[in-house]
Symmetry: C2
Subunit: 172 residues, 2 copies
């Protein structure tokens, strides 16, 4: 016997990658790494999230270097065991693709999930999940976080709840 | 010569009152005061906001005791010089009434404003300002804060930006 969809709910943390090398310095944008300041700030954020008692059952990341390095730092702190490359989190990625993944993932009842990626995609996805539309009106800073309570993936669009939206300066 | 409306923008902080006496203990709901835990947590939040460099040019508050006491604590820390009772911030209050007030206030170009009040009104107002509609999907805890960048009051609905939504545990 499986639970009814309405009983499935997941805390999803949308985490933007830390401060990276300037756009244009690398020919291939996917190769831009975090700069030292970005690494330090991201590590501090990770430490603070641990202190708040967070733990991610799964951490999906954009394949871009600045995102995988951010994910690596989150894992090193112990927030997640490992990270998993998820292509739809690359810039311009696809929300429906992730929702389809979510339905399967939620069926095994793991309660917390982190997505590490890029703007404006992350805040756009979050706005669609909460409001069913996207006004491009949420500001997600580098290494900033949005927290949503997302119900069953089949009805997630327009039915999720926003409980966090914070830049690093507020978290640290 | 006055500025064009598009050049006017205000940071508005929606602050929910701290933890108050249980509903029903007081015959008149407007008289419920903050409890000791609510006073302490609100004072800590105020201190942290000061450390973040915040300063409110004007602080409007619901006339209810738990809101005015919260506002008093914010003023004691130095976040605002004084607070001003604003009837439309009472429970069930009126967003349009405040928007009308805002247009006049913005004409003198003060950049930061705090509103102390109640749920679900505060998060509903904020959702309308950002998305032009209200899905009741934002969670604002007691002594929690929503931060919006609100353009000229005449076009504020659906055109404001969300930059903070945080419960006390994230701020402290």
């Amino acid at each position: 016997m499986t639970d009814l969809p309405s009983q499935i709910s997941t805390q999803v943390y949308f985490i933007r990658h830390g401060i990276a090398a300037e756009r244009g310095v690398y020919h291939d944008d996917s190769q831009r790494p975090l700069v030292e300041k970005g690494r330090l700030k991201t590590a501090k954020i990770a430490q603070r999230l641990m202190e708040l008692g967070l733990e991610f059952n799964t951490l999906l990341t954009s394949p871009f270097i600045r995102a995988t390095q951010t994910s690596e730092l989150l894992c090193q702190t112990g927030l997640a065991e490992k990270y998993q490359i998820f292509e739809p989190l690359a810039p311009g990625g696809n929300l429906e693709h992730w929702l389809y993944w979510l339905i399967t993932w939620q069926s095994v009842k793991r309660p917390t999930l982190a997505l590490v990626g890029h703007e404006p995609d992350l805040s756009n996805w979050a706005q669609q999940l909460v409001h069913g539309d996207n006004h491009h009106q949420w500001v997600l800073k580098k290494a900033g976080i949005i927290g949503l309570e997302v119900p069953d993936g089949q009805v997630a669009i327009g039915h999720s709840q926003l409980f966090w939206l914070a830049p690093p300066r507020l978290i640290l």
